[in-house]
């Protein structure tokens, strides 16, 4: 008797081409694996695949391993989180040298399960393992923008996986129906696919559940059987109850009975309301209500007036529900809020801007606030619009700007300016550099010695945005030294 495999395993993509709609991810990941396969170790020793659940992250790694002849060692990160475990188990796999036969890919699933405080040692250990690994390490995460993953983000290849469209999932379900010789209504498959919110694994499991119980898949059966399975479904329900509420109490109850906290709910409403409402007036009323909800929330949070929370709920629920006066609720899919990703990106640029402002403030003798308000805008104009890239390049050198700082000022022109700076730097031998600087920078140099290395991200102060390759190879060397002593 053959063992019956769950369909999620049975119909898992076997080949790279069977992983649908992830061409970008493939383009990023495959050359990296090919580098390992050919014996050249890439600068980044680990890759982090991220995206919503069930879009093919693990499947793609498995398919690649199969096609490129790697042996896959799967470790669930949430099982090995203490630093000793990571060092012992992951570390020993990482150090295994491929003598003959197949080399290894180490797969660490659910890396975002690492908790910020309790597992801090584990993350540090993991970073050390990555630095010294002899084999490619591939990690997966749903949300890579968590604060605690920040050091990790900097030292790995980040590969994004797109959420799947309903159409992709329907086609896959159809293929399974055919292979299983199952009677399936197209409407039912669509229903299942929609409810899965882009999660293939969830859709296949639902399909199997309906088929197993009734031997056929019809829309009415699917509607009975397919229910919410995780918190995104809870959110989906909450949002629908708000958008379609007939009475104010319904909308309010939807908010207060949701398992999500109000900030998450606000983020979801903020990112989905404009898709559901189409009339500008409705939209205005809805966003005004959200803005006021956020205002009451800040009064509750920062001033300690917790009794204000009730108004947050009023405005988020009924406020949004009854903003719709004219239009219908549009039939659009809900999407995950981009907010978390946005905040992580924002924090990074703001830090860069702050660092640049500090650097300039010291030299121009003005406050950072003044520099941000009055100097950075003109520098931005120079960097983005100057006729000749050498002018901004020379200024970049004059202030020891990091790569990130140049990017912030120059936007799309950053590479051009960085190259120009590199040319200038190479063309000028040491002594000429001195004379060139003398004019005005002398005074500033007493305060902060100018080091070209810092500009290239090699110096001790270049932490803001060094080229990644150079940093990781440097830390690798350092790690080796420590290992020997």
């Amino acid at each position: 008797m053959t063992k019956r495999l769950p369909w999620v395993i049975k119909y898992r993509p076997k080949r790279v081409e069977e992983v649908v709609n992830q061409d970008k991810a493939k383009q990023a990941l495959i050359p990296w694996i090919e580098a390992w396969a050919s014996g050249r170790k890439p600068a980044k020793r680990a890759a982090l695949l991220y995206g919503p659940p069930g879009v093919g992250k693990t499947s793609l790694v498995e398919a690649i391993a199969r096609e490129y002849g790697f042996q896959l060692v799967e470790l669930n990160a949430s099982d090995y989180r203490r630093d000793v475990d990571i060092k012992r188990i992951v570390g020993s796999a990482a150090r295994k040298r491929p003598l003959y036969g197949r080399s290894l890919i180490i797969l660490l699933d659910e890396i975002d399960g690492i908790a910020p405080r309790e597992d801090a040692g584990g993350l540090k250990a993991l970073l050390e393992v990555i630095r010294d690994t002899e084999n490619p390490i591939v990690m997966t995460a749903n949300d890579p923008w968590k604060e605690q993953l920040r050091p990790l983000r900097d030292s790995v290849l980040l590969v994004e996986f797109k959420q799947l469209a309903t159409g992709h999932i329907v086609r896959l379900l159809e293929r399974i129906c055919k292979a299983e010789r199952l009677y399936c209504e197209k409407e039912a498959l669509k229903y299942i696919a929609e409810r899965s919110m882009g999660d293939v694994r969830a859709a296949v499991n639902d399909l199997e559940a309906v088929a197993e119980g009734y031997g056929k898949v019809t829309l009415s059966l699917a509607k009975v059987l397919v229910r919410g399975r995780d918190k995104s479904i809870d959110l989906w329900r909450t949002l629908n109850s708000i958008y379609y509420a007939k009475y104010a109490w319904q909308a309010k109850k939807a908010v207060t009975s949701s398992e999500e906290d109000y900030e998450t709910l606000l983020a979801w409403l903020n990112d989905n309301t404009y898709k559901k409402y189409r009339e500008p007036e409705d939209l205005y009323r809805a966003y005004d209500a959200l803005a006021r909800a956020s205002l009451f929330l800040s009064r509750a949070k920062y001033k300690g007036h917790w009794s204000m929370l009730s108004y947050v709920f009023d405005l988020m629920g009924p406020g949004v529900a009854f903003a719709r006066v004219k239009g219908q609720v549009a039939r659009e899919r809900f999407s995950y809020p981009e907010r978390i990703k946005l905040m992580a990106q924002l924090r990074q640029v703001r830090e860069t801007r702050e660092a640049l402002a500090g650097k300039l403030a010291e030299r121009i003798l003005a406050s950072k606030a003044t520099v941000k308000r009055e100097v950075i805008p003109f520098l931005t104009a120079i960097f983005r619009n100057s006729r000749d890239p050498t002018m901004p390049a020379r200024i970049a050198l004059g202030y020891n700007m990091t790569r990130e700082e140049v990017k912030l000022l120059a936007g799309a022109r950053a590479e051009e300016i960085l190259k120009a700076a590199e040319r200038i730097r190479k063309a000028r031998p040491e002594e000429e550099r001195e004379s060139g600087e003398e004019q005005a920078v002398k005074e500033a140099r007493q305060v902060k010695p100018t080091g070209l290395d810092a500009f290239l991200g090699l110096g001790p102060r270049g932490g803001g945005g060094p080229s990644r390759g150079s940093r990781s190879s440097r830390s690798t060397r350092r790690g080796r030294r420590r290992g020997r002593s």
Binding site: Y287, K372, I424
Partner: protein
């Protein structure tokens, strides 16, 4: 010109010594006296931005202590320091450090002092008394009326006047000639008009315009427009044209690409509303400013900038629709 490095001209052409400060003759005369006597009281420099207050403070210190003056000077900026306690600690530390040879005091420059609350200023006053044996304060402020009386009465007061047109244009001409920049005379006057006597702004405009090539009246206006991200204007236009979704996408891009905070963006929007690039009925500008003020206040209260600005854009969409 052949140097590999360059710095901002505001830094490069800042007067290093009191002698180099061409305008503000009366002030320079009085300050030079302190240098000759090697003694001075606490000073309060007041006046609009870009009139040379900070420059004069540094020049004075350099003339007193020589080129390595910075070791005898503590520079603080009230808008950057986190509260009076941080300032107190730094002053305490600094008062204990080495004293300069031949001069019995060190200097503490406190910039943007008018940004301090009156409670913090009271604490500052006590600090000034406590360490008066070994230190002198130079307080710098845009609005002297915001400095509490007990501090004003302890300081020699210097009022910096807005720079005269001739002074600014002359300085711009000197810099342009020295840098080998081609320019129209009218362009330099235009820069003065736009900068309203603020030398820092004037020099920044000159340098940005020079980056585009020959400095003309046109290029000056162009560069002043560029210094405000175009995207803010585009975002407002999109919203007023009823393209809410596009405007919302632009909002996020601006936040990420320029690293601007909600308040920064509010300020940019405010400039655009009363700028001439954005066409709309005049009474609408007032309406928008009113609503923007409300949004600004909410941000100050700590409300979420993304949500507040999104609501603002949704409101603009409706406003634009009613106008058309």
């Amino acid at each position: 010109m052949s140097s590999a490095f360059d710095v901002l001209w505001v830094e490069k052409y800042r007067p290093r010594s009191l002698k180099e400060i061409v305008n503000q003759e009366d002030i320079v005369k009085r300050l030079t006296k302190f240098v000759e006597e090697r003694n001075m009281p606490h000073l309060l420099f007041a006046g609009p931005a870009g009139t040379g207050k900070t420059t004069a403070a540094h020049a004075l210190a350099r003339d007193l202590y020589g080129d390595s003056y910075r070791q005898f000077v503590l520079e603080l900026n009230a808008s950057d320091e986190r509260g009076i306690n941080v300032i107190r600690e730094k002053v305490k530390e600094f008062a204990r450090s080495r004293t300069p040879p031949g001069i019995p005091f060190k200097i503490i420059i406190l910039d943007e002092a008018d940004n301090m609350t009156s409670d913090a200023q009271q604490a500052l006053r006590r600090l000034m008394e406590l360490y008066s044996a070994s230190t002198r304060f130079i307080l710098i402020a845009n609005y002297p009326s915001k400095i509490i009386d007990p501090i004003q009465s302890r300081c020699a007061f210097f009022r910096f006047q807005p720079l005269r047109k001739e002074d600014v244009v002359e300085r711009l001409r000197f810099i342009a000639d020295n840098e080998g920049v081609e320019y129209e005379d009218d362009a330099l006057e235009t820069i003065y008009e736009i900068s309203e006597g603020d030398m820092r702004k004037a020099i920044n405009i000159l340098q940005s315009a020079a980056a585009l090539g020959r400095v003309t009246v046109d290029s000056v206006f162009k560069v002043v427009g560029m210094a405000r991200p175009r995207e803010v204007r585009d975002m407002l236009k999109a919203a007023l044209d009823g393209e809410f979704e596009a405007a919302r996408t632009m909002l996020r891009r601006i936040m990420i690409e320029y690293g601007l905070s909600g308040e920064d963006i509010v300020r940019q929007i405010h400039k655009e509303i009363f700028g001439n690039e954005l066409k709309m009925p005049e009474e609408q500008r007032v309406l928008i400013a009113d609503y923007l003020g409300e949004i600004h206040y909410r941000l100050v209260e700590g409300s979420d900038d993304d949500i507040q600005l999104t609501a603002f854009l949704a409101w603009l969409t409706v406003l634009g629709r009613h106008a058309s």
